[in-house]
Each structure stands twice: as C-alpha cells, then as structure tokens.
C-alpha cells in the first residue's frame, strides 16, 4: 500500500467517536434524574421559607476532560475555547454560564448549558492534540444546589469533609463521600453549595436530603 493510500486510509478512520447525543427536534422529551420527584410542583407548594433551599439544575451539559497539564494544546486549547484556564487542585473556575471543576490531577468536570455540550466538545477536540480525552456524561449526572442558613448543617450530616470557611472557601470543589454515595461538592456562596451526583444515586440523595433537612425546614425552588 502506497504511503499516500495509507495516509488516506488513516484519515478515513476516525480517531475518536464524537456524537451529538441530543435530538434535533424538541419532540423527544428529556427526563432529568430527579424528574420523578416532580420538584417543580413541590416548588410551587413550598412557599414556606425553610432553613434549607434545594434546587435541581437539570439537563445541563457535563463533559469530563482528561489530560495532562504538560500537554500544552490541551491546556491552551481549553483556555482558548472556554475563555478561562483549567483550575488547579481543588479549585473551580467559571466563565459566563460555563464552569469547570478540578476533579483529579488529570481530570476536570466542565458544566455548560445542555445544548452546548456537543459543540464545545467538538471545538475542544479540534484545538486539542496529543493525549487527552473528553467524555460527555450529561445524562449520567445532575446538579443540585443546596442553600440557606442550615445548608451547612445538612452537609455536616452528610459528609465528613471539613466544611469550615478557612478550609472550604467559596469556589473550592471537592469530590468526597456523601451519605453512602459520593458527590462533587463546590461552594458557590457563603451559604450555597453545589452538588454533582450520579444519576442512579439521585433518588437516594433526594431522600437523604429531605430527611437531613427535616428539622430545619426544606424549601424546593424551581
């Protein structure tokens, strides 16, 4: 086989499988992991102001980025496409409605509006070279926002991680145990935390949070 033919053939063979997982039309109805809990109608009833507020930020785009900080095109490429730098250990960054979390020395979780997941993955793959990976996990996890004066107490019941201001300032993100599952916990405000949990555990986390919040009063917000 001539080198040219060989080259051609290689160009024919895709290196990575890129897939737009969203339907083109609005027809197909997506269901978030907590869809069955019908938080929307709970939100309407839940007028009472509780010590804890809970909101599901459903159907966002979740991309897991893997790569080495030594890989310049990976680091630069991300900055170029996302308009922010990859955060360092236990840090997060945000630009517009996109936010990125450090997960491990070679892993970051990028969360963007649901519809942008594919195009961003595409762009990132175009600018990135060498050894890296991107996995779209938008269907595999969901974001819960826990807020209010007693939110910290609910967290203290749920994780052994040190939540004190000096150890857990706004913007920090940790992957840790949450009750008998795990969560990526990011502090988004003085009294506000964001939890990223896996789809199949979402119902358990929902049950747990209702229970742990009971003594403070739980308000579901849309």
């Amino acid at each position: 086989m001539s080198e040219q033919m060989l080259a051609e053939q290689q160009t024919l063979i895709p290196v990575y499988a890129l897939m737009d997982q969203l339907p083109e039309t609005e027809g197909p109805r997506p269901e978030s992991p907590l869809c069955h809990a019908d938080l929307a109608s709970l939100a309407e009833q839940g007028s009472r102001e509780g010590g804890v507020r809970l909101q599901e930020q459903a159907l966002l785009g979740h991309l897991v980025l893997r790569g080495s900080l030594q890989n310049e095109s990976f680091v630069q490429g991300f900055a170029q496409v996302m308009g922010m730098a990859l955060p360092g250990a236990l840090e997060s960054a945000a630009a517009g409605d996109a936010s990125v979390r450090w997960i491990s020395p070679d892993e970051w979780l990028l969360i963007v509006p649901g519809k942008q997941a594919f195009s961003l993955e595409k762009q990132l793959r175009e600018v990135m070279a060498g050894h890296f990976s991107i996995a779209n996990v938008s269907g595999g996890q969901t974001v819960l926002v826990l807020a209010g004066q007693d939110a910290v107490n609910v967290l203290k019941k749920s994780t052994g991680y040190d939540l004190r201001d000096r150890n857990f300032p706004v913007g920090k993100v940790v992957t840790t145990t949450f009750a008998k599952t795990q969560a990526v916990i990011r502090r988004t405000g003085q009294q506000e935390w964001e939890l990223v949990v896996r789809r199949s555990f979402a119902d358990y986390v929902w049950l747990w949070l209702q229970d742990a919040s009971a003594e403070y009063g739980l308000t579901v917000t849309a």
Partner: protein, 1009 residues
C-alpha cells in the same frame, strides 16, 4: 408519697417545677433538676436492685457514671423501653416510668435471695466451669436457667419510634469534661480564637464544683462556673455540648460524642426531634479533663443499701438537697472524705462517727471535725456492716498501719448509712482507647494516662492533680497549649489569670483498698469488689489460688469489670487485692485496658439515619418508573434494583418466565440493560491495554466492531466479562457485569497507574450516562426499523457484532448488534435523559409484535439455553477460561503476557480432572435440578460422598420443553454422554446426562434471520 429525705431548701433544683414519676408501679414526686436516683433517695427508696448471682438487695452507692447498682428499666410504652438505664444519670421528667429488673415476687422481697444465701457458697468464681458437665445432653437445660438468671433489663419487643443521626465536625480543640479543669481549658482555647468543642456528660457544666463548698475568687464556685459558661456561650468559635458523653477516642484524634437531646424531656422524643445524635469529630488537639472517680473501700457486707461513696453523699446533699439517711458513719483514708460528714451535719442529720483509717491524721479537716463536735475514731476501720435491706449498724475496729489486720477490739455503732472514701482513681478510660497503657503513679497510688501518639493533653484530676487550684491552673495551661499547638494562642498567652482559691492544708493519705476483718477473707462475710457482677475479695483470692494470676485471667475468671459500669468502682480494688494475694505490686500485676465505650451508647445512635429506606442506596435506571407501573418484581443486583420478571395478573412466576421466553424466541422482547457497567476508554494505547487485561485478542478489532472478552486475575481465574466495542481507532466502550462495574474500573486504573503509566489511555465511567435497552427476537429488526430511518438494519450491512450510530425515535443512539439470547438482537443506547422517552416509543410500535418486557430471570434462562455464562453465577473465583470450555477466548500467542496467562499455567491449573463447566440434561425432562446441587458417581454411597461438582445454573426451558442446566463436573469435557447423579435432601436422586451447554441453535443461525 412525701420526700422524707428532701431538705427544705438548697440544691440545684427548680422547686417550682414538681415532677411525678412511677417506680415499680408506685407514684413518687421529685423536682426538675433531680436525677432519677436523687428522687428515689429523696423518697426514701433503699432497695433498687437484686444482685444477679446472690440476689442480695442493693441500693444506690454513687451519683454518676460509676453507679453499679441502680440500673433500671425505663419506658412508659413497649416501644420506648430502655434497658439498663443508670438512675444516677437519668434526669427526672414528668411521667417517667421506671422499674427495677431482678427479684421475684419483687425486688424488695426476692425469694431467690434465700437460694442466694444458701447456694451462694456453692458459687465461687468459675463454678459453672466445674459443673453442669454431665451429661452433655443436660447442658441445654442448665443453660436455660443460667440465662434466665443473667441479664439485667430487657429489650423492647416493638420497633423504635425515635430517630437518631450523625453530625461531623472538625475542631481545633476538643475539651472532654466540663469541670474546673475542662471549663478553664475551653475558656483559654476559646479566647485564643481556636474552634473549640466542650462536651460534658451531665446536664450542667461544672462537674464537682456543682456540689463543692469551695470558693473561687471568694465567691461560691458555682458563680465562677456560671460566668465562664456565659462567656463561652458568647463565643461563636465555641460549641458547648452538655448531656454529651465522649464515648470513644479513636486513632488520629477522631472523637465520637453521644449527645442525648431529648432523654431529659420524655422517653419518646418530641415530634420531629432527634432523640440522640452522634457527633463524629476530627480534633486538632484533645484536652482530657475527665476528672477522677472516688474509690469505695472493700469491707464486709459493703453492699447493704445505705453503703455509699462519700463524694456521692455530698453530691446528693449539696446538688440535690437530699440526705440519703439519718445517721452516718464515715470511713475515710484521706482528708477529702471528711467533707461528706460536714455536709451531712450541715444538713441537720446525725453524724455517728468519722472512722479515719489513719493512725494520726494531720489535716485541717481533723481539727474542723473536732470544732464541729464530731467524733473521730482514728486508726480504725468499718470492718463489717449489719443489716440486710438497709444498714442498721457497723462494726468498727482498729487496724494496723499497713491496713493488713485488725488489731483491737470490735465495737458496734448504730447507723443507717456508711460512706466510704478510699481515695481517687483518675478517669483514664479515654486515654486508653487508642491503645495507650495507663501508668502507675506511686505518689498518688493510682493509674494516670500513659504515653500516646495522639495529639492529646490532660488537665486536672485525670492525671492526678486533685486540688481545685491545680485543676484551674492546668486547665488554663493545657487549653492554651492546645490552642497554640493548633496555631492559635500566642496573642493572648498568659492573659488569663488563675482564679484565687483558698487552699486547705491536706494531710497524707493512707493506701488502703481492702479493709481487713477479724476472720480471714475466705471466711468473713462477703466483701464486694464489683457489685454488679457480685465479685468479692474472697473470689479474687480463689482465682489467684487456682492459678489465674494475670489480671486479665482474674478479670475473666471472676467477671470483674464486665458489668455495665465496666468496673469504674471495682477494678482498681480488685487489682490491689489480686496483687496482694500474689505478693506483687499493683503495677506488676498490671491493669486491664479500657476500651470504648466510656458509658454504653444506644445502637440506634451509632446507626444514625443509615437504616430502613436509607440503609443502603437503591440505584435506579432511567426506565424504573415504567417497570414499577408494569408491576415488575425486582431483584437486588449490587445496589441496583433490576426488573426480575413482569408478572401479569394471576400469573405464577414460572408462567411469566415461560411467556417472556416464548415472546423473545417467537417475536420480540425487551430488557432494560442499563445497569451493565460501561467504561469509556480513549487513547492511543487503548487497544494495547485491552489486550493486556482481556484474555483474548484485540489487536485487529476494527472500528464499528464489537468483541466479547473475559477478564482474569493474575491467578488466571475469571472475574468479569463483557462486550467491548471499537468506537474509533483510539476509542472504545467496555461493558462489565452490573455487580463488577466499580471493581473493573478500579482494576484498570490500578494497572494503568501502578504498572503501565506509559500507556496513553484514559478510563471514564459512563454507566449512568447511557440508557440501554436490548430488543431481542426474530421481529426485533422489523420493530426497530419502524423507529429509525438512518440506520441500515439489513443483515449484510449491519452484521452480527457490528455497532452503528443513528437515531432511534428521533433520538441519537448507538445500536449494538450483539446477542445474549441467541436471537437477533439490537442493543439500543441513548443518553439516559431520553431513556424513558425512547423506551415508551419502542412500546408504541412494539405492540403489534407483542413486544414483551422481560427481566433478569428470563434473560438468565435465554442465555442458559445458549450456554452463555454469567460471571459470578457460573464462576466463583476458582475457574479459568479453560475450565469454562472457553479456550476460544484465550489468545496465548499475544506478544504481551496478558493478566491471567501465567496464572493459568500453574501446575494445579494444568492438572487433569479439574472441574469443568458442562451442560446437564435430566433423564426426566420435567425435573429441574436445584441450583447448587452436587453431582456424585454413585448415589448409594454413605457420607462423605466424593463430589464431582455443582450445578451453577438450572431452569425449565419452555422453548425446549425440558429442563436445562449448567454445572461443573470433574474432567467433564471428556465425559460427554455419561450419567451423573444428584442426591436430594428428600432422599430422591436426580439423574442427568453430561452434554454440551449449548442447548439451542448450536450453529448460531437464529440471530441471522
């Protein structure tokens, strides 16, 4: 009833809040601020228990966690029963219902006591090791009686209506104990700015200061306590935990605190409230200020109600305004003991005498006693108590300086209360929890905390500093030091003045544990060391006499320290007595090590909310709601809830399975396969990596193709399997078993991170990302065709083990043409958010094909008909691919020595006659061999019968019209057609023929329709 022993004034009670409670059916009254014990004493209740071995009447001896006798049953309803509540620690509340536990017909009059009196002598320590042996058959009967006699309270028989939870904390300084030392430590650390948690087991902070006569800064000590507590409450860096026992001190300064939030309000927690909370704390530094426990003296009949600790007497008088008797005899080895007599006198009751065991006591208290006109009998001891249900008098005699023998005549004094003060034992328990052995201090004749690797400090009586000044000083020092060590404190160093206290000159203390009697210990009336377990001084001597010389042997042989008080009062006396009878010193004899808990902790509190619905997560797929609506029965697989089968009304399980199987074989069925583990693998070396972790070859797997793989351990034993698809040159998606998902991912990471970091590959779990539905059956293609217009499903274009991307029901999907049923099958994967939508669309078009949902059981049957294995069911960690007859899945010509290759080549794995997986056809086609049944050559042998192997999978196959089974048979692969026998529990024998495990469509044509 009237509170005959209640003083008209004083105490820390709220007299405006009278409380009524029931004890053994009688209604009594007390006040808020009482403990159950103080209220019982106020009401003149003497007998609160019967000892378990001798059924002797027992009364309250202590005022805190060290109480061995007043251990009662609490609870107004069956569901709120609490066994073994220590009356001295239970706060009184209105409507409290308590009962004593042993004794028939009543604790007051117990017939067993006569047996105890007579039989008592027949019950030396370990008597049950020496009898009840013959014949063995009678042991069951003996045991019933022994068990009936043992135990204190009873468990509720209804479920607990209360809830418990956990709360995690990280603190710079945890201070244990809220007495003078603890309060000072918390104050110092708090002022330094450290985050402090102060825990005390009592309702009020202050410890011994709550009943002390001493002055701090020339004011009653309680005023200082109030001021300090008030300041601590204003600090938001300080958390105060009253009613909270530090029950365990664990490695790396992890501290557990048991907080009783509602036990003082009612026996059922007020609605919505948590009854008890476990605080799980990671502490920077721990300051132990746990104080000391007073030692009772061991003398004859020292268990008769009315015998108490001197400090307890003071506590009841000063803190609860209760004088537990009328005429007191105090026996003491030290000056502090005198306080009880003074308090007693101040309460207006008669002090018969102070019996001081020291020949020439010199402390200021002696003079004070004389000024008070109190009779002090020096160089003497109470050698015996008279009375049965209440002290009626004592025998007093002079003893020698060593306290070994009685030297003078015996005189009898009439009294109804005997207080004894034998010195103090530091509460070293927590310090021992992390494995540190306590050290003996000769000067104070006590054990103090030993060396430790924990970040631990001690202050006050816990390390032998008994004076109030020392406690306050050390508290401040250690609190400051803890804060400084934790990175605070410099700024305020030395700014906390030590409060002024007036010291009283104290004289030397006499070392005395066991008071001599005119008779030898073995013949004297019982001298109790451990009340709750009925261990006597004589008993300990018997144990040592018999050669049980290690203190652990003594303890275990006599049961000393095994009560619910864990020997807080008795152990040190027991050690001293053992040491003496062995002619050793106490440190030579050694101490027993204390372990958690400091005081008993409710199981519910330790479990927290991790029970019932929240015991363990239930994992659901995106289509779970649909399965529920269809009335599916579920199977637990790992944490997943998987549909097991979908019964129609009136169907038996077998009916459903037959129907589901037939549907798949004749038309179309659908399985929710979302729970299978899915791992996204990307990178230039992904293919190489697969070749190393799977037993078969991956080098040539083309893009668009799928392949089945077996995963083995380094020992060559199969531990997981699944299909992996080549999505792109450097991009694969691996499926694992449902239960194995997490393990496989960790396995891949382990080898990547520790062995082959040079390989360029990343693994990401996408299990939850994809909703997976397997449409299987001859009509699956037609069915799917109605839902997709961009995937060519034709056999020539979409071959077996191909995968294609396109849309299904308008949703982007990856469709894999793989089959676990042997039928034409398409596995549709869509983003889980759209799983339910697509699933429902599939059913809309599926109706005309009688599309039938099937569960794991039908899936198991269908794959068994095809002879496909299930890792975990047909494997057990002891079988190689070869044993499974899957040599086609082993590529030993691969350049890299894949995981498992070397293991499979070990001598034992190569030997003839290994157990091998085969098919089994029963002679009677209707009979299904029970799974797990073992094959034998000859069913008529007597046990032990040599076994050939067990049945791993066995079902009735509706499609084939006979039962099918897979199982292991020694050398089975070479025994096709031979007959083996499966003996059954009912004596019957199932006969089966060894055959190929592929029962259906051996050529695999069905999936090519």
């Amino acid at each position: 009833m009237t509170q005959t022993n209640r003083l008209p004034s004083g105490g820390r009670l709220d007299r405006n809040r009278p409380v009524t409670f029931k004890y053994n059916g009688t209604t009594y009254s007390g006040f808020e601020g009482d403990t159950l014990a103080s209220a019982l004493l106020a009401n003149g209740v003497d007998v609160v228990a019967r000892s378990f071995k001798y059924s002797r009447p027992r009364g309250i001896v202590a005022a805190g966690a060290d109480e061995p006798n007043a251990v009662l049953q609490l609870g107004a309803t069956e569901a709120t029963q609490v066994p073994n509540v220590r009356a001295t620690q239970q706060e009184l509340f209105d409507g409290l219902v308590a009962a004593s536990t042993n004794g028939w017909p009543s604790t007051d009059n117990d017939l067993m006591s006569y047996i105890g009196k007579v039989g008592g002598r027949m019950m030396p320590p370990g008597f049950y090791y020496k009898t009840f042996m013959y014949p063995q058959s009678l042991w069951d009967t003996y045991e019933k009686f022994i068990r009936k006699a043992a135990g204190i309270g009873r468990s509720p028989t209804e479920n607990d209506p209360d809830i418990y939870d956990h709360m995690n904390h990280h603190a710079d300084v945890v201070v244990v104990g809220g007495g003078p030392a603890g309060l000072s430590a918390a104050l110092a650390a708090g002022r330094a700015g450290a985050q402090v948690i102060l825990a005390d087991e009592q309702a009020e902070f202050g410890g011994m200061l709550l009943h002390s006569n001493e002055l701090i800064n020339d004011a009653p000590a309680t005023e200082w306590v109030a001021a300090v507590v008030a300041e601590l409450q204003t600090m938001d860096n300080v958390m105060l935990l009253p009613r909270s026992t530090v029950n365990g001190y664990h490695d790396h300064n992890f501290v557990t605190i048991h907080e009783r939030r509602t036990d003082h309000l009612a026996d059922l927690a007020p609605r919505g409230q948590v009854r008890q909370r476990m605080h799980r704390i990671r502490a920077g530094w721990v300051v132990l200020a746990t104080g000391a426990i007073e030692r009772p003296l061991v003398y004859a009949n020292n268990d008769v109600p009315g015998c108490m600790l001197a400090s307890a007497v003071s506590t009841y008088i000063k803190r609860y305004a209760v004088v537990p008797g009328n005429e007191l005899v105090l026996m003491t080895t030290n000056d502090q003991g005198y306080t009880a007599a003074f308090d007693w006198q101040d309460a207006g009751r008669k002090v018969v005498a102070i019996v001081d065991t020291r020949a020439e006591p010199t402390g200021a208290c002696v003079a004070q006693a004389q000024q008070r006109g109190l009779k002090v009998i020096k160089g003497s001891a109470v050698i015996e108590v008279k009375g049965s249900k209440r002290v009626s008098g004592v025998l007093v005699a002079s003893i020698d300086a060593a306290g070994d023998r009685v030297t003078g005549n015996v005189q009898q004094l009439a009294c109804d209360t005997v207080a004894s003060a034998g010195g103090w034992s530091p509460a070293v328990h927590l310090a021992c929890h992390t494995g540190s052995r306590p050290e003996w201090r000769e000067d104070i004749q006590a054990f103090v905390p030993g060396k430790t690797v924990q970040r631990q400090l001690t202050a006050g009586a816990v390390h032998g500093s008994y004076t109030l000044r020392a406690c306050l000083e050390e508290g401040i020092q250690q609190g400051m030091l803890a804060a400084t060590n934790a990175g605070f404190g410099e700024q305020i160093a030395g700014q906390i003045p030590v409060p002024t206290v007036t010291e009283t000159a104290a004289g030397p203390v006499m070392t005395l544990f066991h008071v001599p009697h005119t008779k030898p210990t073995s013949r004297a009336p019982k001298q109790f060391v451990d009340y709750q377990t009925d261990v006597t001084a004589a008993g300990i001597e018997v144990a040592t006499r018999e050669g049980y010389e290690s203190i652990e042997h003594v303890k275990r042989y006599t049961a000393m320290g095994f009560g619910t008080d864990q020997g807080k009062l008795g152990n040190i006396n027991g050690m001293a007595i053992a040491a003496k009878s062995l002619n050793k010193t106490i440190p030579e004899t050694g101490t027993t090590i204390f372990r958690p808990n400091y005081t008993p902790i409710t199981f519910g509190a330790i479990a927290g909310r991790h029970c019932k619905e929240l015991y363990d997560p239930k994992r659901y797929t995106a289509m779970h709601r649909w399965h529920l609506a269809q009335g599916a029965k579920f199977e637990d697989v790992g944490q997943w809830k998987r549909p097991w089968y979908f019964p129609k009304p009136g169907e038996s399980m077998q009916d459903s399975l037959n129907r589901e199987c037939q549907a798949v074989r004749t038309s179309a069925g659908i399985l929710d396969a979302s729970t299978l583990g899915k791992i996204d693998i990307q990178g230039r070396d992904a293919r190489e990596f697969l070749g190393r972790v799977y037993s078969n070859a991956w080098a040539k797997l083309a893009v668009g193709k799928c392949r089945y793989g077996l995963m083995c351990g380094e020992d060559g034993m199969v531990f997981d399997d699944g299909v992996t698809a080549c999505l792109a040159e450097n991009h694969f998606i691996m499926t694992t078993t449902t239960g194995g998902a997490a393990g496989v991912l960790e396995w891949l990471e382990l080898y990547h991170q520790t062995e082959w970091p040079e390989l360029e590959v990343y693994f990401n779990t996408v299990t939850d990302q994809w909703a997976t539905m397997t449409i299987s059956g001859p009509n699956s293609r037609k069915l799917l065709a109605e839902l997709t217009d961009d995937i060519d499903l034709s056999g020539d274009s979409f071959k077996f083990m191909d995968w294609k991307e396109g849309t299904v029901a308008g949703v982007p999907a990856r469709v894999f043409r793989i089959s676990f049923t042997g039928e034409l099958s398409f596995e549709v994967n869509v983003q889980a958010n759209y799983g339910m939508y697509v699933w429902e669309r599939v059913f809309e078009v599926g109706a005309k094909y009688n599309l039938t949902p099937y569960g794991t059981e039908t899936m198991h049957i269908l794959r068994a008909e095809k002879g496909f294995i299930i890792a975990g069911q047909d494997t057990d960690g002891s079988v190689t691919p070869i044993d499974l007859g899957m040599s086609w899945c082993v590529a030993n010509n691969k350049p890299f020595s894949y995981i498992g290759k070397r293991g499979m080549a070990r001598e034992d794995c190569l030997k003839e006659n290994r157990k091998q997986l085969v098919g089994l056809k029963t002679r009677d086609p209707e009979v299904v061999i029970p799974e797990g049944a073992h094959a034998v050559e000859n069913p008529n042998q007597a046990a032990p019968v040599p076994m050939l192997g067990h049945v791993t999978s066995s079902y009735y196959s509706a499609c084939l019209g006979h039962s099918i089974a897979m199982g292991f048979i020694r050398g089975g692969h070479d025994r096709m057609g031979e007959t083996v026998y499966y003996p059954q529990p009912d004596g019957s024998v199932i006969e089966a023929e060894i055959c190929s495990p592929i029962f259906l469509d051996p050529k695999g044509e069905r999936q090519n329709v």
